[in-house]
């Protein structure tokens, strides 16, 4: 008889057995727009959208803006008891790119995460989602950087990977 009760519970809430976890989505690229560089130049796009340029000549109306990521916590069940979710965010190593007469390198990262105004690649930054009372809770944040471009010939589209890692530290019941 107890075995039958257990089976009924499992069917009524199949999600109760799912493990908690994090997902990270890349919502928007870090967009530096379109511009001319004669030989060397840089453009900085901050997490708050501020753009500053040095020795570059903007062309057209290409979109410019910070990268955006969303970390979503799924507690794995439909319990709505408030919890504080703590996870760490790491910007993994960012490598310069070289392609046909162009070199692009990112530096001086910043974000709008509390305590991570200056974002150092490889360093972990703790983020808290307080009072999470739903099955899933998320934190969206933006990342800016400075792009230095060296050009010896031609042009092209530079694309530099921005790998973001999120590790769950705790989900603490309040």
């Amino acid at each position: 008889m107890p075995i039958m009760i257990t089976a009924v519970l499992a069917q009524a809430d199949p999600a109760a057995a799912a493990p908690e976890g994090l997902t990270v989505t890349a919502d928007a690229q870090l967009r530096f727009g379109a511009f001319i560089v004669v030989s060397q130049g840089s453009r900085r796009v901050s997490a708050n959208g501020t753009v500053t340029s040095d020795s570059i000549y903007p062309v057209g109306n290409a979109a410019v803006g910070p990268a955006q990521f969303t970390v979503t916590y799924d507690r794995g069940n439909n319990n709505h008891k408030p919890i504080n979710v703590i996870f760490e965010v790491i910007l993994a190593g960012v490598s310069p790119v070289n392609q046909s007469g162009l070199r692009g390198a990112l530096s001086t990262f910043d974000s709008d995460l509390a305590g991570a105004g200056v974002l150092v690649p490889g360093r972990a930054y703790s983020v808290t989602i307080a009072n999470c009372a739903a099955r899933t809770c998320s934190k969206t944040f933006r990342i800016g950087a400075r792009l230095d471009v060296t050009r010896s010939s031609g042009g092209g589209v530079l694309s530099i990977a921005l790998p973001i890692i999120a590790n769950l530290i705790s989900s603490e019941k309040l």
């Binding site: 001319i36 471009v149 590790n167 989900s171």
Partner: protein, 193 residues
């Protein structure tokens, strides 16, 4: 025995609600992108040359060089000043080559009106002196690109990033213009649009 089994199974139902999680990781890779545009370059191939122009002392005239048309059109007292046996260069529009990023459009900017100063060469010494007034003007500068001939001061670079355009204009020849060689440099600016 039955009671014990029931307790154990109940615990199994409750257990999936952890208070503390182990390290659970996730990752995503975004990208930073920039479109580095090949700078546009312009190279002069030929001057805008109105050739040898003659005009009456008492009345003004004009010479029109239309880009793409090839021929000079004279009006008023202005006429071609080259006579039989003289080695005179044919009037022609200026020509420029443009290079840059394939497929990108560009616009051309130049002054609307340019004053042209004259130089007189002394036959005895060969030295040059500034010609006196009145001034000669070039007005109504007109452009015609190979890619967009009807677009005026605009063009579009082809698949290899090349184009060319011609520049013409109207030379205003005032009355009583002293004979001289009139020459001026005009800055032409090309920008992507």
């Amino acid at each position: 025995m039955r009671t014990t089994s029931a307790i154990v199974l109940s615990c199994l139902v409750v257990l999936p609600l952890p208070l503390w999680a182990g390290t659970t990781g996730a990752s995503a890779t975004g990208a930073a992108t920039a479109n580095i545009v090949t700078p546009v370059a312009v190279r002069q191939i030929a001057d805008l040359d109105f050739g040898m122009v003659a005009a009456n002392v008492a009345s003004a005239g004009a010479v029109v060089l239309t880009p793409g048309a090839g021929l000079a059109v004279y009006s008023g007292s202005a006429r071609r000043g080259c006579v039989e046996g003289m080695d005179c260069p044919a009037p022609h529009a200026a020509r420029f080559e443009v290079s840059g990023e394939a497929g990108r459009s560009y616009v051309i900017a130049a002054p609307e009106r340019v004053a042209v100063s004259g130089k007189v060469t002394a036959p005895e010494t060969g030295s040059e002196a500034q010609a006196g007034p009145p001034a000669v003007w070039i007005e109504a500068l007109r452009f015609r690109s190979a890619s967009r001939p009807e677009a005026g001061p605009a063009g579009r670079l082809d698949a290899t990033g090349q184009d060319w355009f011609e520049l013409g204009g109207t030379l205003m020849v005032p009355a009583a213009l002293p004979p001289a060689r009139y020459r001026v440099s005009v800055q032409v600016i090309i920008t992507y649009n």
